[in-house]
């Protein structure tokens, strides 16, 4: 019983680390830039499939594959943001239409992946998948440990980028007040575009992590929508430390639920968290 519990906690922490890397892009696009990018999980799945291709054709390690396609994803992010800005943001119509735009992208990505890859589950191969480290009663599967470590490294790097570089701090600033940025002769739109590209680029790495943890097929992105938004909202919309804590909490609760009640209830956990957060968060969300 105890070892069941401890293992559930341990996998929960590892799972939480993965949720953090999956969410960090949304923490930037939605938390900081206020862009409701519903399609974020779809881009993560896209990342999983690019990792799959590079891994199955050329034997490249999935994480390395994720790094290789980073520029491509960043470019995709730039293009999407330009379209979004041109169509909605400059007209102030981010509401219904902006969300529908991303929803459409979510759908298109999923269907396109189905058309190309079919509905079969795909997986990657790497020397660490299938092995685990044992620490006392606890069993740490490497296929979860490696993504978790990658997650923390990536988030750490991003945090340094945001707090130490000029463009990083401009991003933090634009999240608060675009007007002030203009006074510094920096174009808010340019900064936002960089930030959004960054957020999509993280999806490449997150995708690699995902396909290491589990086999992937095009429509599983939907299972993660609730989770990434729950983590973003619970984490305080854009705060990295908050997001990491929220991700860990979610991971642990889901892991415990899966261990003691069965894994098929996991998506409901995230949604429950999301609803509770929305229902009881102080009315500071309104009129933000």
């Amino acid at each position: 019983m105890l070892d069941l519990f401890l293992n559930a906690i341990a996998s929960g922490v590892l799972l939480g680390g993965f949720y953090a890397v999956m969410t960090v892009g949304l923490a930037i696009s939605f938390g900081m830039l206020d862009v409701g990018n519903l399609a974020h999980p779809a881009f993560v799945i896209l990342g999983s499939f690019t990792a799959y291709i590079l891994n199955s054709r050329y034997g490249i390690d999935p994480i390395v594959a994720g790094i290789i396609v980073l520029p491509g994803f960043a470019l995709l992010g730039a293009v999407i943001y330009e379209t979004y800005y041109w169509s909605f943001e400059r007209r102030g119509e981010e509401g219904v239409r902006g969300l529908s735009f991303f929803f459409g992208l979510l759908f298109i990505t999923e269907v396109a992946l189905i058309l190309i890859f079919g509905v079969d589950y795909r997986f990657v191969e790497a020397p660490y998948i299938g092995r685990s480290i044992d620490i006392g009663l606890v069993d740490l599967p490497l296929r979860m440990l490696v993504p978790c470590i990658t997650a923390f490294v990536l988030i750490g790097v991003l945090q340094l980028f945001l707090s130490r570089t000029f463009i990083g701090r401009a991003i933090l600033a634009v999240a608060q007040d675009g007007q002030a940025l203009r006074l510094m002769a920096v174009s808010p739109k340019h900064v936002k575009r960089v930030a959004f590209s960054l957020s999509i680029a993280t999806a490449a790495i997150a995708g690699s992590c995902l396909i290491i943890i589990q086999p992937v097929e095009p429509s599983i992105g939907r299972d993660y929508i609730g989770r990434v938004f729950a983590v973003t909202v619970m984490g305080g919309m854009g705060s990295f430390p908050g997001m990491v804590i929220a991700a860990l909490v979610l991971g642990i609760v889901e892991s415990l639920t899966a261990t003691f009640y069965g894994p098929s209830w996991s998506p409901a956990v995230a949604f429950g968290f999301l609803l509770l957060t929305l229902a009881f968060r102080p009315s500071g969300i309104m009129g933000r």
Binding site: F103, V111, F271
Partner: protein, 314 residues
């Protein structure tokens, strides 16, 4: 035009279409027409909350499937006639809409949208885990051999959906021209200013959510008899949401006519595409059309004919 006149006109159109359908012999047309009519209901229902009020519902499939699975449960319990099933489907979806709305409508619209999507997935999770309705394996529903009024069960389903479509359009128009619709427009235009003018925004949003959700549940209620095999993967398909959103966005969100135009236009294209190309490619086309119209023609086809959105006289 007065509201009662509109209802009478709608009833007349429904009767006329039904009369014409008596000359159709090929069952395929009834199958296809049922789907288009179903989408008229879904698009109209979505537009009450999306177009009139400005709150996006991505979880269309959730409300729709709740109606369908309520039917499954009742069918297994004692098999009531379709009108009863429709009412029950509407009530179930309406209540869920009320609950979710109460929790999420007090914050910004974007959170509501996300919550609807997550809700649909959660409902799907529950249904997938519920063996009584077949769980992930699905359930078979046997159509009754004979149908009231028209004999052939497919024609009966067509008639039912035709009436439902007429009703939802008339309801939408009634709302549009009522004080409620007036208030919903202010919620959409500027919620803060609406509150400052004395509009009880939360209450109005809840009404719109319940009405919208109930109509979607009603559209889903006859579904099991239509497909005869229902499983969560198809029942909760994301394509319901994409269509329900694309149709009003393409046809126009300002009034009742836009969703109808969008449903007929897109629904017909999809029927043709599914038959001639493939159903997956068909879905891709719908998604692309949605994004295209959202980006290029925000007011839809109707909007392109009018320089601005119009509101009727009060």
């Amino acid at each position: 035009m007065r509201t009662t006149t509109f209802w009478l006109l709608t009833a007349a159109v429904v009767a006329a279409v039904f009369g014409l359908s008596r000359y159709v012999t090929n069952d395929y047309y009834f199958f296809a027409a049922y789907l288009v009519l179903q989408y008229i209901v879904l698009a109209t229902a979505w537009n009450i909350l999306g177009g009139y009020t400005g709150y996006v519902n991505f979880g269309v499939a959730g409300f729709f499937a709740l109606g369908a699975y309520s039917t499954v449960v009742l069918h297994k319990l004692w098999g009531p006639p379709i009108p009863v099933l429709i009412v029950v489907g509407g009530i179930v979806s309406g209540i869920v809409g009320l609950g979710m709305g109460y929790l999420t409508l007090r914050v910004r619209g974007v959170f509501f949208g996300i919550a609807t999507l997550a809700l649909a997935i959660v409902i799907q999770t529950f249904i997938t885990n519920w063996d009584y309705v077949g769980g992930s394996r699905g359930v078979y529903i046997i159509r009754p051999a004979t149908a009231p009024l028209v004999g052939n069960y497919i024609e009966y389903l067509f008639l039912v959906m035709l009436i439902l479509a007429g009703m939802s359009v008339a309801i939408a128009r009634t709302v549009e021209h009522s004080i409620l619709g007036f208030g919903l427009a202010t919620v959409r235009d500027d919620e803060m200013a609406a509150e400052a003018s004395g509009v009880p925004t939360l209450r109005l949003k809840l009404v719109a959510t319940v009405l919208s959700g109930a109509l979607m549940g009603m559209a889903g209620a006859p579904m099991p008899y239509y497909v005869t095999y229902l499983d969560p993967a198809s029942g909760f398909s994301l394509s319901y949401a994409v269509n329900a959103i694309a149709m009003p966005l393409i046809g126009g969100t300002a009034n009742w006519l836009g969703p109808v135009i969008g449903a007929i236009f897109l629904g017909t294209i999809e029927q043709v595409a599914t038959v001639t190309i493939s159903s997956a490619l068909n879905l891709l086309i719908v998604g692309v059309l949605l994004v295209f119209f959202v980006v290029v023609a925000p007011n839809g086809v109707m909007g392109m004919f009018q320089s601005r959105t119009r509101r009727g006289d009060r």
